[in-house]
């Protein structure tokens, strides 16, 4: 019994080390001077340049990119992540509401059309999407960055399943109580979906934060870069000019890019689990 317990724990510990070691190495390396990294390669123990590196990356203009600081990129990523998540939740809740509660002739086919778009991720439709956004003059704007991404088949599907499990009598009681269609949505359905909304917000925030391809082709101006784009660009920037490559800054940027999603999940994990497990009706 104890023997097998030790073995399972060993396996789990190995797995955990395997997953976290690269992150740790990136962090440790980010706290060394560029010379050390160049001479000795990646570092497993933290060095003494933590404050210096992170200060330069976060706050000093020209410290990491030509103009934009990591702080500004964090802000951009935050806007993308939040806008993406909120947009998806709003759009998919409204779509699911229409599909579940309104009898219109094409409700069922429409639902399947929405569902089928799961097969058409952004990568497949990226050229037409780009063309549309460009024609609307939304290139390099936040609206252009967020709006094309916020339709969500997954979200619509989850909310549809949830709404279908809400007892019909609640709708009937609300109708007798004189609730309008909008009233029923905002007074009954939204509060009932609270935990569900929280779970989807969290997942979508992380997905939005990690968006890569679309921001990459959408943003040309440096001040619109998100952190994820910043990581990609920093190697270009760093290898330009004859100076010593500043790899510690690249690592610092990577660590900064992973922090917010990790924080969000850690802080809201109770809600998250509740939303996926519990159905309070």
């Amino acid at each position: 019994m104890t023997g097998s317990k030790i073995i399972t724990h060993l396996i789990l510990i190995c797995g955990a080390i395997f997953m976290t070691l690269p992150v740790w190495v990136a962090f440790a390396s980010s706290t060394h001077a560029p010379e050390t990294l160049l001479r000795e390669g990646l570092q497993i123990w933290p060095g003494g340049h933590f404050l210096e590196t992170y200060n330069e990356v976060l706050f000093v203009e020209g410290g990491v990119m030509k103009k934009v600081t990591a702080m500004q990129m964090l802000g951009n990523s935050m806007i993308l992540g939040v806008g993406f998540a909120v947009g998806k939740v709003v759009i998919s809740m409204l779509a699911a509401y229409a599909i579940v509660y309104f009898r219109f002739r094409l409700a069922v086919p429409l639902f399947w059309v929405i569902f089928l778009t799961l097969l058409l991720p952004l990568e497949v439709r990226i050229i037409p999407s780009y063309k549309v956004v460009a024609d609307l003059g939304l290139l390099d704007t936040r609206a252009g960055l967020i709006v094309p991404l916020i339709a969500s088949a997954t979200g619509t599907f989850f909310f549809r399943q949830f709404f279908r499990s809400v007892p019909d009598e609640l709708l009937e009681a609300a109708r007798l109580d004189g609730a309008t269609a909008w009233g029923f949505f905002k007074d009954i359905l939204v509060p009932l979906s609270k935990t569900m909304i929280a779970a989807i917000l969290i997942i979508m925030f992380v997905v939005g934060w990690n968006q890569y391809l679309w921001p990459l082709i959408m943003t040309t101006k440096e001040e619109n870069y998100t952190l994820v784009i910043g990581i990609k660009q920093i190697y270009q920037v760093l290898s330009e000019g004859g100076e010593l490559p500043q790899f510690q800054k690249a690592f610092a940027l990577t660590i900064l890019a992973t922090l917010p999603p990790v924080m969000v999940v850690l802080i809201f994990q109770n809600w998250f689990v509740k939303g996926l497990v519990e159905s309070e009706k």
Binding site: E172, R175, D177, G178, A179
Partner: protein, 358 residues
């Protein structure tokens, strides 16, 4: 207050199911009407049509002088209590009770006053700030009632409101509903398939069968004077004894069983004799004898079940008879009892149409 009038009401569901097949009913103001009938007969459908939750395929429903076929549920001025209560789970008791009033844009002070008053009346004023999942079944039931009461509607609609409660609470709530309805004097329609609820709550009872009103009247009238076989068999607990018989000109005959005291019945068709268990009595000079199979002691009275060896029931099995006797009457199993009844209190029905002949 106002009454409810149904004229030629029909309901066909989109899938072709004919749930209601022509109902006419005139419910007086302040009256309590109970719909009873077997499962699937259309009780709920009819109630929901009055509420506006189901469309009316044909015919007309009016509340007071107003035809409400095309009026939205919230403007019909009716309130409904659902079987599973349908309380809003995320709102407090107060929130649940005031939601309908808020939607009517009633001033806050008046809402509070009405909620407090209804809560006092229902003895839930201590729970006003709790959520439904912190209440017992009986308390939730009261909240559901409270939500209906605060609206001060023209008509109360109840769809089996007590069927999720345990037996004791059901009796208690039944009495309270009746008192409340008397006090408030609001026209009410109450759906149930519970015998006792139906008999005790109703001013008038509507027995519904396959989408039609089979008979409507005061509970005792339906009990003592059923118009059809269906009504006779549905009303009354324990159930009426039904004996398939034929008329030979002087007697009702089933195998070796031959009962005198009947006249003017058709001879060429199958008949059913209905004898209530409480009209049967042990009588040495009685008409037939039974072999005691089972005695149920209910406290105040005993129910004696016995087989009539000479006769067959509708399925061709030995005829089984139930007799209501007082608590001193305690025959042993397999004893033979001779039973009698007054033919004037028995009913005779045609078997094919269910029509009552006597």
């Amino acid at each position: 207050m106002s009454g409810v009038k149904l004229t030629g009401v029909r309901k066909t569901y989109p899938n072709g199911a004919e749930a209601i097949r022509g109902v006419d009913m005139d419910i007086q103001s302040g009256e309590m009407i109970v719909f009873v009938g077997p499962s699937g007969c259309g009780k709920s459908t009819l109630l929901r049509m009055v509420a506006g939750l189901e469309g009316i395929s044909d015919g007309e429903i009016s509340i007071g002088d107003r035809v409400i076929n095309k009026v939205s549920p919230s403007e019909r001025d009716v309130a409904m209590v659902f079987q599973n209560y349908a309380l809003y789970p995320h709102m407090t008791v107060r929130g649940n009770m005031s939601y309908g009033l808020k939607n009517r844009k009633m001033p806050k002070a008046e809402i509070d006053a009405r909620v407090e008053e209804a809560a006092k009346m229902l003895k839930i004023d201590a729970y006003l700030d709790r959520q439904p999942n912190q209440l017992s079944g009986g308390q939730r039931q009261r909240v559901a009632m409270g939500r209906a009461i605060v609206r001060e509607p023209q008509v109360f609609l109840f769809d089996e409101p007590l069927s999720n409660l345990d037996a004791k609470l059901r009796v208690q709530m039944r009495i309270e509903i009746k008192k409340l309805q008397r006090r408030m004097n609001v026209t009410s329609i109450y759906v149930t398939h519970d015998q006792t609820e139906a008999m005790t709550l109703a001013d008038r009872l509507a027995v519904i069968n396959e989408g039609r009103v089979e008979q409507m009247g005061a509970p005792m009238e339906l009990y003592t004077n059923p118009r059809t076989l269906f009504v006779a068999s549905f009303i009354g607990a324990p159930q009426i004894n039904l004996i398939p018989v034929q008329f030979d000109g002087t007697h009702l005959v089933n195998g070796g069983l031959s009962l005198a005291g009947f006249a003017d019945l058709p001879r060429d068709t199958d008949l059913v004799l209905g004898v209530r268990p409480d009209t049967l009595s042990v009588d040495a000079g009685g008409q037939f004898s039974v072999r005691v199979d089972l005695v149920e002691q209910h406290g105040g009275e005993n129910l004696i079940y016995g087989g009539v060896t000479a006769a067959k029931d509708a399925e061709g099995e030995e005829l089984e008879i139930c007799l209501k006797a007082d608590k001193e009457m305690l025959p042993s199993i397999d004893d033979s009892l001779t039973l009698g009844f007054d033919p004037a209190t028995a009913f005779v029905f045609r078997k094919d149409t269910g029509e009552r002949l006597k």
